[in-house]
Amino acid sequence: MAEIMTTIGVWIGVFLTFSIFSFLYRDNPFYRFAEQVFVGLSAAYGFIYIIYNVLIPNLFTPVLSDMSQNWLLIIPGILGILMLVRIYPPAEWISRYPLAVVIGTSAGISLMFYLKSDFMNQIAATMINPFAIPSASAISGSFLIILGTICGVYFFYFSKKQEGLFAIPSKIGIWFLMISFGASFGYTVMARISLLIGRIEFLLRDWLHIIK
């Protein structure tokens, strides 16, 4: 029986695959159906996933099994319930309290995290001796990194009109950004084609059995 169900599963997969692909042509009943099924299923998935993998292990199990050790978890529990007060519109504003906790946390954590990893560490990574590796490509490359980083950062400088002499580093900064965008784009093509290969493999192998 399980084999038949697996086969049915493959046919369902094929139907949904083509329904989504049909969107490339235009909006149509198949896509609309697949879209709403997708939204519904994935919302349900997220809902069930959070119950089984967040609320039960992170809140209910610790609180119910050992209250004295985990009493602190009552606070987020209460905040979570305050969030739900929104269902009653006149009391909507109460949800701002949990929102304030959440956003305060995000702001504090982001501030420290970005300061460390994206600001200080990236500056440190740019403090390089350009002549450390004696090869033409490494030396020229190191100079490009230093020049590109400085001009790129300058490109974002707000409080100066970028005219005359001040426009030069900013211009160089744009060139570096453009090269980088082109590079990222070209580089990503392969990953995106891989996704299509994955889909075609499913059609050719699991459904049509043309390839192994």
């Binding site: 990953a191 891989s194 290969i197 493999e201 059995h209």
Partner: protein, 320 residues
């Protein structure tokens, strides 16, 4: 109603149709273009190749089905290579789905020829066989369609083990650095670690010859570099999706934070080339190359069209 008129829609559809065919046909009829090997993949290969037989190594399966096309071929080649070299392979996963990914790879590589269903046995074995067979000192496994070796004699618990998934990447790796046996008291099937002969004499990460993370994102290779290499000085190498590969290049430095890197399908295909196999990655690489050519042709056509349009506009303006 729609902004795009029928002409533009058909133009788009033509592009999409051509691209679809361009990707599909090489999968059915492989061409066999070979890529050249980049130094970073060579580094990974050398790391595995130069590690003495009998060493225990760790492969971390940090991906899930969505990135299988890119990362599974790497996993296949790596396990294949490690077994050829007589290494003992320990699998762990920082992603929940990684456990299944590891099981897939092992079961596919250990499937004995009789277990391979008839349609998997190649009609033209000989054409593939001559491509490999340069370095089969350890064993002569059966050869399948894609000329990936089969190791029916490799035994679970002796030659390989799957320790399973643990959440909390950084913490888990740190804990493994202190003691693997406590972090993973059992394997993924619940077998106590003490009853697995492969784990004898393995206490810390330091007891491993190298660690390779096949990483689809966070957590993954980055955490292995930061903890296993930076804290515990274990050799770390890895394979990532093409998209995240450039982000790891800075780690290949004079501090040897990362010993080589396979990026995406191309990295996997290069490794297959080094292994002397024409595996799944090499086949898909053909699709890739054709698709890239098609896109380049699109760009060229786009330019010609825009050039013509602009010239027409200019002429129209000149007439006025």
């Amino acid at each position: 109603m729609s902004y795009i008129n029928t002409h533009v829609r058909w133009e788009r559809m033509t592009l999409f149709g051509i691209l679809f065919l361009a990707v599909m046909i090489p999968l059915i009829l492989p061409i066999g273009w070979r890529t050249d090997v980049s130094p970073h993949v060579q580094m990974v290969y050398d790391l595995v190749d130069k590690t003495p037989p009998g060493s225990a190594i760790l492969i971390s399966f940090d991906y899930e089905p969505s990135t299988m096309p890119e990362l599974k071929p790497m996993a296949m080649s790596l396990v294949d290579h490690a077994w050829q070299k007589g290494h003992k392979v320990i699998a762990v996963a920082l992603w929940p789905m990684g456990v299944q990914m590891a099981n897939d790879v092992f079961s596919e590589l250990t499937a004995s020829p009789s277990e391979i269903s008839s349609d998997e046995i190649p009609d033209v074995q000989t054409t593939d066989v001559k491509e490999k067979d340069e370095s089969d000192e350890m064993m002569t496994p059966a050869v399948s369609a894609n000329s990936i070796r089969r190791y029916s004699s490799k035994r679970y618990g002796i030659d390989y083990v799957n320790l399973g998934f643990k959440s909390g990447a950084m913490v888990t790796i740190k804990a493994m650095g202190r003691n693997i046996r406590e972090t993973f008291p059992t394997d993924t099937f619940g077998t106590p670690i003490d009853s697995l002969p492969i784990m004898d004499n393995i206490v810390h990460l330091r007891d491993l010859a190298y660690i390779i993370s096949l990483s689809a994102g966070d957590p993954g290779l980055k955490q292995w570099i930061m903890v296993a290499h930076d804290n515990f000085k274990v050799k770390v190498s890895g394979g990532t999706t093409a998209v995240s590969a450039p982000g790891f290049l800075p780690y290949i430095n004079n501090r040897n934070q990362l010993r080589g890197l396979m990026g995406g399908l191309k990295g996997a295909a290069e490794y297959e080339k080094l292994m002397g196999t024409f595996g799944p990655a090499s086949i898909k690489m053909d699709s890739q190359s054709i698709a890239h050519v098609i896109i380049l042709v699109f760009i060229a056509i786009g330019n010609v069209r825009s050039f013509r349009r602009r010239r027409k506009q200019r002429q129209a303006r000149d007439k006025e």
